[in-house]
Amino acid sequence: MAEYKPIRKVVSGNYAAAYAVKHARVQVVAAYPITPQTSIIEKIAEFIANGEADIQYVPVESEHSAMAATIGASATGARAFTATASQGLALMHEMLHWASGARLPIVMVEVNRALAPPWSVWDDQTDSLAQRDTGWMQFYAENNQEVYDGVLMAFKIAEQVNVPIMVIESAFILSHTYDVVEMIPQELVDEFLPPRKPLYTLTDFDNPKAIGALATPDDYYEFRYKLAKAHEEAKKIIKDVGKEFGERFGRDYSDMIEKYRTDDADFIFLGMGSLMGTVKEAVDRLRDEGYKVGAAKVRWFRPFPKEELYELAKKVDGIAVVDRNFSFGQEGILFTEAKGALYNTSARPLMKNYIVGLGGRDFTLNDVRKIAEDMKGLIERGELDEEVEWYHLKR
């Protein structure tokens, strides 16, 4: 194994994604532009135009077609990638099921952007979470480095379990904000991520097959079980690949939930994506003032790390779930998932849902402090005032 010397570049989250696609030696990209995703595929097009990457680039007429073309490419055995956001992801919805059902290890970067109306281009997780039941795995990046690392790991994980993966980043907060990203020299990426070995391919002419064939009620059920089982098995693969990544490149991703100062915490924040960077910084400041508080960042929303959540939940008195998303008629989506995961366990911390940051509303260090003060009071009183709080609402 060659010695690892990272190449440091100052890039946006979108460029970090594009570099990862190049370094992963992706063979086919089919994509359609949409704010705030566009600069990912623009950068990939630039790599191709400059002769820096050998990628078949397929410009298509919609996101539905982008996913359809990516599925076709993946079915031939190629390593295939696409990227989208918000309305584009929603348009892709039907094809997302085709990708996961046919067990194609596609990787897609999804830039969290609020759904319209009202029209918005800013950060909001409801677009990706609305695709929860498509059978895709979902990885939420906190920063540009995690976008880069996430894409590389996603290909390795997806190609072992044959399940597609969305690597999700925040609109503008990551997608267009520049930060230092440690990139990995090509030969070391190649060692980490060997060429794909497909389960089946459309180009195996000696053994012709249809992929995504019809299954009558006699057979459909078993294929759904196989996909469900693949998600369960992925939890171990995620751990193994995350650990290997840490050993090779110094950033460990073996935990599906990143625990930040949670060991002796009285209560923790639970959330996903870039807002957890703010929470971690706030936790440091609150700790300096004597708050026994920690942060738990859900990296993988699918498969859902319920075992890890239980280990955390049984040690704390309270969990403040910060959701930059909402399921109308219910509550924040992570809140539902977290409560559901704990129902059949002995862990019963006080749990409150704070709806924050929808449509890119700023979520600041001061907001984290106010939520911490609220949680501390609720735990002392031992009861909830309200289960779901629209935290920023102008009253």
Binding site: G101, A102, R103, N162, L199, Y200, K209, A210, I211, G212, A213, A215, T216, D218, D219, E222, F223, Y225, K226, A230
Partner: protein, 107 residues
């Protein structure tokens, strides 16, 4: 007896694949071979029955069968390959002498 004029000897080698446990299934939903192993007759609800007393050997049913799952026997009468007949009933509808009737199939 040759079962099918189209499949010929191949049809004699045809065997239906029956997957009995989830472990026998392929990981992804791929086709396991051709129709020589995927018998589509199991989709049927109504089964066509040929009454040779009424059949006039016009072969209209044979021409219309979309599968095609109707073959002509050596004696000139038509017969139905129930491994592939999906029970659509077009043959019964087209038959000018009502020699084919659709009956509820018990399984």
């Amino acid at each position: 007896m040759k079962l099918n004029t189209l499949f010929g000897e191949k049809k004699e080698r045809a065997t239906k694949i029956v997957l009995r446990s989830v472990d026998e299934y392929p990981e992804a939903p791929i086709s396991l071979g051709t129709t020589l192993s995927n018998f589509t007759g199991s989709w049927r609800t109504f089964i066509p029955i040929v009454n040779e007393d009424k059949c006039v050997k016009c072969y209209i049913c044979w021409k219309f069968c979309p599968e095609p799952a109707i073959y002509i026997k050596e004696d000139g009468y038509v017969a139905i390959d129930y491994d592939y007949c999906k029970g659509c009933g077009i043959c019964a509808n087209e038959c000018p002498t009502n020699a084919i009737t659709m009956e509820k199939e018990e399984k």
